[in-house]
């Protein structure tokens, strides 16, 4: 499997996700945002961080960079695209994913390990997880408060396009287990084709027991076959 990580000025989880991909045996390449061509690959990752300092709106400026036109092209032709954290924000700014990410409801940056539930394990990104599996995973963001219009929200729920929801240790999805105010506790969504996944939590931080746990491993291994 070949993967490509897009690097924007201000990306800072680009190395982290590259390390994870390589550890999972992807053949990975980094591509600078000023490039106009993408190498042929099976997976494109838009990494986390603070592209352009999150100035204006997080993801807005990266959403206008040269390489993004290419990302949109290949995404529309079915290539797998994974946006993590700032990557998720960028994907919503490009329109590849609908909705947007507002400021956390407590107006503070939040970094901690939280729990999410796998709602849909019938996708190329999640099939190695069990349905309703609870993962412990790290979040680190200022704007993770997912918002969209009622129509889209209904579609997400009905078409099973919600990948993950925030929950508690036991799997309960409620206001207490919602760290940032996200609509319906949404932590990650697919596009209608399910070849694009945007998620706020950081799976690349969960691949090593010494550092955290290995709850992110299956996301990468799902993508391998």
């Amino acid at each position: 499997m070949k993967s490509t990580v897009i690097v924007f000025p201000g990306s800072n989880c680009d190395r982290d996700v590259a390390v994870a991909l390589e550890k999972m045996q992807f053949k990975n390449q980094m591509v600078w945002h000023k490039e106009t061509k993408l190498p042929k690959s099976d997976l494109i990752v838009v990494p986390g961080g603070f592209s352009y300092g999150d100035y204006l709106r997080s993801g807005a400026i990266a959403g206008k960079s040269l390489i993004i036109d290419e990302v949109i092209k290949v995404a529309n032709s079915g290539c797998l695209v994974l946006g993590i954290c700032n990557g998720f924000q960028i994907l919503t700014e490009t329109g590849l994913l609908k909705g947007t990410l507002l400021r956390n409801k407590n107006l503070k940056f939040i970094n901690k390990d939280i729990h999410i539930k796998v709602l849909n394990n019938k996708s190329k990104f999640t099939h190695k997880y069990k349905k309703e599996q609870i993962l412990k995973i790290n979040i680190a963001h200022n704007e993770g408060n997912f918002f969209t219009d009622t129509h889209h929200l209904e579609e997400l729920e009905k078409e099973n396009l919600i990948a993950f929801k925030y929950c508690d240790e036991k799997g309960d999805i409620n206001e207490q287990s919602n760290p940032n105010g996200s609509l319906n506790n949404i932590a990650g969504i697919f596009n209608s084709n399910k070849n694009i996944l945007g998620m706020m939590p950081h799976p690349e931080r969960m691949i090593d027991d010494l550092i955290s746990n290995k709850d992110g491993v299956n996301l990468f291994s799902s993508l391998l076959n």
Binding site: D16, F109, N142, I211
Partner: protein
């Protein structure tokens, strides 16, 4: 323009100093030159009041690659790996504008570290606020914390450890000290010393604006009613640009184009160019019209004194300009050759081809004033007036709850959850324990880092206080299994022109020196911040120690959290029951007189090294040092974040329960061990002649002292986590 005494005073210079300047120049300086002298000769850059004391600190050791004198200290951790680190204060700016002040503090210290060729891998901070009830405290705390997070999170370097304290002594003068730690190849460290004639001096990074003009002088003057007027000099941090600057510099450092590199920190272009030239014993000529400016009509004076952030000065090898420029252009940063090195030994400033200022480098550097300020010894403090009968008026349980729920002891996750602690994916142990552990990327070794201070101890007896902070810092590294290697220090004090304050400074340094020498724990970098206080009210002396230790093999990282049921608890070190200066007396009786606990360096070293031996032999499940709040507080902390509590047996040779449980005697640790390992553990401790006691064992759910108290660990957690909920 005629230089009047008013102008001189405005520049923070004394008339004698001005006379001295005239002598060095053989003439009157013009305004530009005066500004440059004021920047270089102020406390912040010249260390004029502290230098003769700093000289005495131990700075050498097998582990030291670069001691004080460069942008940051460098130590050797084997296998061609080096650790680069330093701490710096940003107290005054943070009081005026907490968010930007703290943010630019973080930005500044990061530049000191990546200037030397290191990729920053961890950030720490030591922040001190006034009383929690003071009307400014809440907003200052909020601002500082979001500023620290705002900068570190954006640039993508984990903020992993620190300390947060409240004390009314900081009501009008908070402390914000930031420490950065980086990793470099030992064979690729970059220094600021210029070499060679006619080499290009290159300006890279952000454009120069009118920010913080005279910031360095502000950091060196006491606050007064007029300090509000100094507000417009606050700088705004731009972590995004700093990220670009960092990546660009690290990219350029991959080959051999750089002769010398220096960040523009306090006193910006002035101090960076003078420092490079002075270390290289060269002159430097700058063409100021070439300086990239953000605002129109900036004068040479403004350009030389601006403290705009995110800028660097580089001296390049011949012929490397083109490739270097390409790198900076790729990162959308300015890259302009603004001058060259010369053999004139002068700082020569040209503007539109006219010489606007010319000063001998040595007048600014080696000939800057040095003061041997008068100081007086601290008298031994009064004994505290508490008798054993009064102690009995409180219950152990109440006293414990008071400590655990106090602002100073409350759980800090409210803060630390606002910092990205995990980015870079090498944080093995986050904040909350005695020290943080950061893995060296791609290797199975790690460093441990911690910052510590004890203003109350230092106030009551500076020498002991100085020793204590070094020892506490050393202990904090040991409890997570690291061999302490070296420290950086940030010395936050009041007005040095006051003999008592200068005495506190001198004596704290004596204490630091003695402890560092004994523990082979040299000082490799640091920073001094004087004039902390308002209108003659000086802050408590607050030296802060930042330590780095090495974990050679990262198989089984340790922390302070109880691991299982029925393991044995051993207290290493002797308990005398020293209550003076303790949290117990402060929180329960509002008594703050008396001596801090005595430091016995011999025991300190022996106990610490013996514990490291036990850790190396894999005999320890968890460990924690005993410090503020005494044994009982340390034990509760081990229970709070765990599923297990403890049952502590009543000590046999007990004189007084309060003294035993709340005393703050030093050089003590609590360890949790598997009971099967007791013989092995005892053997090591006995062989090294370490005093120890078996104090109890871990159990499920409850924290208990036989016959005295029993609290569920859940309740302890709640008690400890309530205070910050108001924020």
């Amino acid at each position: 323009m005629k230089i009047t005494s008013q102008i001189i005073e405005k520049h923070g210079l004394k008339l004698e100093e001005f006379a001295n300047i005239k002598k060095l120049l053989n003439r009157e300086p013009n305004l530009l030159e005066l500004g440059i002298f004021s920047a270089m000769w102020n406390e912040h850059c010249s260390y004029k009041s502290s230098r003769i004391h700093l000289k005495n600190l131990p700075t050498k050791g097998k582990q030291v690659i670069q001691g004080p004198g460069e942008n940051a200290g460098v130590i050797d951790i084997g296998d061609n790996d080096a650790i680069v680190f330093k701490i710096e204060s940003h107290n005054h700016p943070s009081y005026i504008e907490p968010y930007q002040g703290a943010a630019t503090g973080v930005g500044g210290i990061l530049r000191d570290v990546f200037t030397m060729g290191a990729r920053p891998i961890a950030l720490l901070n030591s922040i001190h606020f006034g009383s929690p009830e003071h009307f400014k405290t809440k907003s200052l705390l909020n601002g500082v914390v979001s500023g620290i997070g705002g900068y570190g999170n954006c640039i993508g370097i984990p903020t992993v450890a620190g300390e947060t304290k409240f004390n009314e002594t900081y009501n009008e003068n908070i402390l914000v000290n930031a420490m950065a730690v980086g990793h470099a190849k030992k064979s690729k460290i970059f220094y600021s010393k210029a070499k060679g004639l006619n080499k290009s001096v290159v300006y890279v990074g952000s454009k120069t604006g009118r920010d913080g003009i005279h910031g360095a002088s502000m950091a060196s003057a006491e606050f007064d009613e007029n300090s509000e007027e100094k507000k417009p000099t606050v700088q705004v941090g731009d972590p995004f640009t700093e990220k670009l600057l960092m990546e660009a510099c690290l990219e350029l450092m991959k080959d051999n184009s750089i002769i010398s590199i220096q960040d523009m920190g306090a006193a910006g272009l002035t101090s960076s160019s003078v420092e490079m030239a002075s270390k290289g014993e060269l002159g430097i000529e700058l063409e100021l019209d070439k300086v990239p400016c953000r605002e129109e009509n900036m004068t040479p004076y403004e350009m030389m004194l601006s403290e705009s952030q995110e800028r660097m000065l580089i001296i390049l090898e011949d012929g490397k300009e083109k490739d270097a420029r390409k790198i900076f252009e790729k990162w959308d940063l300015d890259f302009v050759i603004i001058g060259k090195t010369t053999n004139s030994n002068n700082l020569t400033l040209k503007y539109n081809n006219k010489i606007e200022g010319e000063i001998p480098i040595e007048a600014l550097a080696s000939k800057a004033p040095i003061y041997d300020r008068k100081w007086i010894k601290k008298k031994k403090p009064k004994k505290s007036e508490i008798n054993l009968k009064d102690l009995k008026k409180v219950k152990i349980e109440e006293a414990l709850i008071k400590i655990l729920s106090s602002p100073n002891h409350s759980n800090k996750s409210w803060l630390t959850n606002q910092y990205d602690q995990s980015v870079m994916c090498d944080t093995v142990l986050k904040s909350g324990s005695d020290a943080a552990i950061i893995r060296i990327h791609n290797k199975d070794k790690a460093i441990a880092v911690s910052v510590d201070s004890s203003a109350n101890y230092c106030k009551s007896h500076p020498i002991t206080g100085g020793k204590q902070i070094v020892c506490e810092n050393w202990r904090n590294l040991i409890t997570v299994g690291a061999k302490p290697l070296a420290i950086t220090n940030c010395l936050n004090f009041g007005n040095p022109e006051n003999q008592e304050i200068m005495g506190e400074f001198a004596e704290c340094l004596l204490g630091i020196k003695e402890a560092c020498e004994f523990l082979n724990y040299p000082v490799v970098s640091g920073n001094v911040s004087f004039y902390n206080g308002t209108n003659k009210k000086n802050i408590f002396p607050t030296p802060v120690i930042g330590g780095v230790g090495l974990i050679k093999k990262l198989s089984n990282p340790l922390n302070h959290i109880f691991k299982r049921e029925n393991s044995l608890l051993i207290l290493i070190g002797k308990t005398f029951g020293h209550l003076e200066q303790s949290c117990f007396l402060k929180e329960n009786f509002s008594i703050s007189e008396g001596m801090p606990p005595e430091i016995n360096l011999l025991n300190e070293k022996n106990n610490g090294e013996s514990l490291l031996k036990l850790i190396d032999e894999n005999l320890i499940l968890s460990s924690h040092d005993v410090s503020n709040g005494g044994l009982i507080t340390a034990l509760s902390e081990m229970s709070i974040s765990s599923n297990y509590g403890a049952k502590i047996l009543k000590p046999k040779k007990l004189t007084n329960l309060f003294k035993y449980f709340f005393g703050e005697d030093q050089a003590r640790y609590i360890i949790e061990i598997n009971s099967n390992n007791l013989p092995k553990v005892e053997k090591v401790l006995k062989e090294s002649d370490v005093y120890y006691e078996n104090i109890g064992f871990t159990q499920k759910k409850y924290f208990e002292i036989e016959g005295e108290l029993k609290i569920s660990t859940k309740d302890l957690f709640k008690i400890n986590n309530e205070w910050y909920n108001n924020f």
